[in-house]
Symmetry: C3
Subunit: 208 residues, 3 copies
C-alpha cells in the first residue's frame, strides 16, 4: 500500500519531467501528454519487455498511464509554477528513482533473472523513462552527460536487491528498503555535495 503510493509518486514526478520538456520544446497537447506518459511508465515497459512480461503491466492495467497522463495535464496548464518547486521535485524524483530501481530488480528476480540481470534491469527501470524522454525530444540523454550522480545510485540500489535477494535468506522486503535508502540517499548526498563523475582525460596520456 505505502509502496504503491510511493510508486505513483515516482510516476508523477517522472511524467512531470517529461511533460515539462515537451512544453519547452513547443509540443502540442498530444505531444506533451505522450512524452509525459512515456517518461512515467517507459522504464517499467522496457523492464517488462526484457523480462518477457507481455503485454507490459503498465499497459495492461490503466492506473499507471492515467496517473502519468494526469500529471502531464497539470504540467500542461500550470507549468510556470514548477520552476518554484525545483527542490521538492528533486527530492521526490530521488525517491521515485530509488523505488523504481529496487522494485524493478525485485520483479526481475521473480522472473528468474540472475542477480546481475536484476541489477541492470532495476537500473533500466529507473532511468529508461528519462532516456525515452530525451530520445523523443531529440536531445542527448541527460544521463550520459556530465551531471549530478543519478545512474550510479540507481545501479547500487538495484544491486542491493539483486544480490541480496538471490544470495541471502533474508526476506526480500528488507533488501527493498535497504536498496531504496542507498539509492535515494546517495542521490541526495550527491546533490547536496555536488558530486560528479569525471569526463575522459584529454591530455594526461601522450601529451609531451
Amino acid at each position: 500500500m505505502l509502496q504503491d503510493i510511493l510508486n505513483d509518486i515516482g510516476i508523477v514526478v517522472f511524467a512531470a519531467s517529461g511533460a515539462l520538456l515537451g512544453v519547452r520544446k513547443d509540443f502540442d497537447l498530444w505531444g506533451i501528454l505522450t512524452v509525459g506518459a512515456l517518461t512515467g511508465v517507459g522504464g517499467g515497459i522496457l523492464r517488462d519487455v526484457l523480462l518477457g512480461i507481455t503485454p507490459p503491466t503498465s499497459i495492461q492495467n490503466w492506473p499507471p498511464i492515467v496517473v502519468a497522463t494526469s500529471a502531464s495535464l497539470v504540467v500542461f496548464f500550470f507549468h510556470p509554477a514548477f520552476s518554484e518547486l525545483r527542490r521538492s521535485v528533486l527530492l521526490l524524483d530521488a525517491i521515485g528513482m530509488g523505488l523504481f530501481a529496487t522494485s524493478g530488480a525485485s520483479i526481475a528476480i521473480d522472473q528468474h533473472a540472475s542477480a546481475f540481470a536484476a541489477t541492470l534491469i532495476g537500473l533500466l527501470t529507473a532511468v529508461g523513462g528519462g532516456i525515452l524522454r530525451d530520445v523523443l525530444a531529440n536531445e542527448i540523454p541527460l544521463l550520459l552527460q556530465p551531471a549530478d550522480l543519478y545512474a550510479v545510485p540507481a545501479l547500487l540500489g538495484a544491486g542491493v536487491v539483486g544480490v541480496g535477494a538471490t544470495c541471502s535468506s533474508a526476506p526480500t522486503w528488507i533488501w527493498l528498503v535497504v536498496g531504496t535508502v542507498v539509492a535515494t540517499g546517495l542521490r541526495i548526498t550527491g546533490l547536496v555535495f555536488g558530486l560528479q563523475l569525471p569526463t575522459a582525460p584529454s591530455g594526461l596520456w601522450r601529451r609531451h
Copy 2:
C-alpha cells in the same frame, strides 16, 4: 482478402513516407530502403514485441518487408513525382493509419490484452513506424509537434475495437469496420478543416 490489400496499401504509404525522408536526408540506397522498410513495418514489430509474438510476424513472413522495400525502391528512383501526389498520399495514409490502429488492437485482444492495452497497442501499431522513422532520421517525431490530428484519431479507432471487442458480444469485424471508419474519417475531417490541438498556455497562469 480486402483487408490484406488495404493493409498492404498502408505499408506502401508508410514505407514511402520513410523513404522520402531518407532521400531528403541524403541517405544512400541502403539507408533509404532501411528507413522505408522500418517505417512500413515498424509499428507492427513494436506491437508484436509488446505482445510477446516472437519472432514478430512482419519479420517471420517475407511479404510485408518485400512490399515496404519495393515501395521504397520506387521512391528512390521517382521521388520527384511524389510531391504532385500529395493529396492522394494523404488519403491513402489516412486509410492505412485507420487499418493499422484497428488491426493492431484486434491482434492485441487475441493475445489476451485488456481493452486498455489493446487501445494503446493499436495506437502504437499506427504511429510506431513514423516514430521510428523520425528517431532514425534524428528529428523530433512529427507526431509530438503541433500538426494536423493524427494520433487522436488512431487512439479513438483503436479504442472502438479494444472496448467493443471485449465489452460486447457483437462480432469483432463490426468493430474493425466502425473503428477504421472513425479513425480514417476523423483524420480526413481534421485535414479538411485544419483542426489542431493547442500547445501549452504560456502566460494565462500567473502572468504578472
Copy 3:
C-alpha cells in the same frame, strides 16, 4: 572456444567504437561506459527481444557486459592512442560484424525463426549496437549515410546462414564459416576498393 574468443573481440571493438563516440561527445565516465557497453551488447539484446529470449543472454550472464565495459574503460583513459590503430580496428570490426551476423542468424534458427527472419535478425545483431550508439549520441546512424559497405555484407553473411541452415542438410557450422567469410570478406573488399552505394538520383527523372 575459438568462436567465443572471436565473439569477445567483436564485443570489444564495438564497445570501443561506442566509448570513443562518448569521449568525442564529452560524456562523463558513466555516459562513456554506458554507450560503450550498449554498443557492444546492444545488437545481441535486440536479437533476443525479437526472439523472445528473456532476460536477454547478454544481460543474464555477466561476461559480455564486463568485457564491453572494460574495453570502454581502456578507451576512457587511453583514447588518444586509438587514432593510430585505425586500420587494425577496422579489420577487427569487420571480423566482429561477420561473427555477429552469422551467430545472430544461427540463434534465430534455433528459436524457430524462418530463413527470412533469421537473415534479418542476424543483420540486426551485427548493426543494432551501432544504431543504438548513434541514436543515444543524437546522431543520424552512420549506417544510413553514404559510406563504405557495412550492412549489405552483414545481410549477405546472415543470409548464408539463414538459408543454408534451413534449406540444406549440411551441418550449421559450415554455413557459419561460409557466412562469416562472405560478410567479413565483402566488408574488407569494400574498404579496400572504396565501394559505396548510390544516393537517390536527384535530376535524372523529370529534370525540366
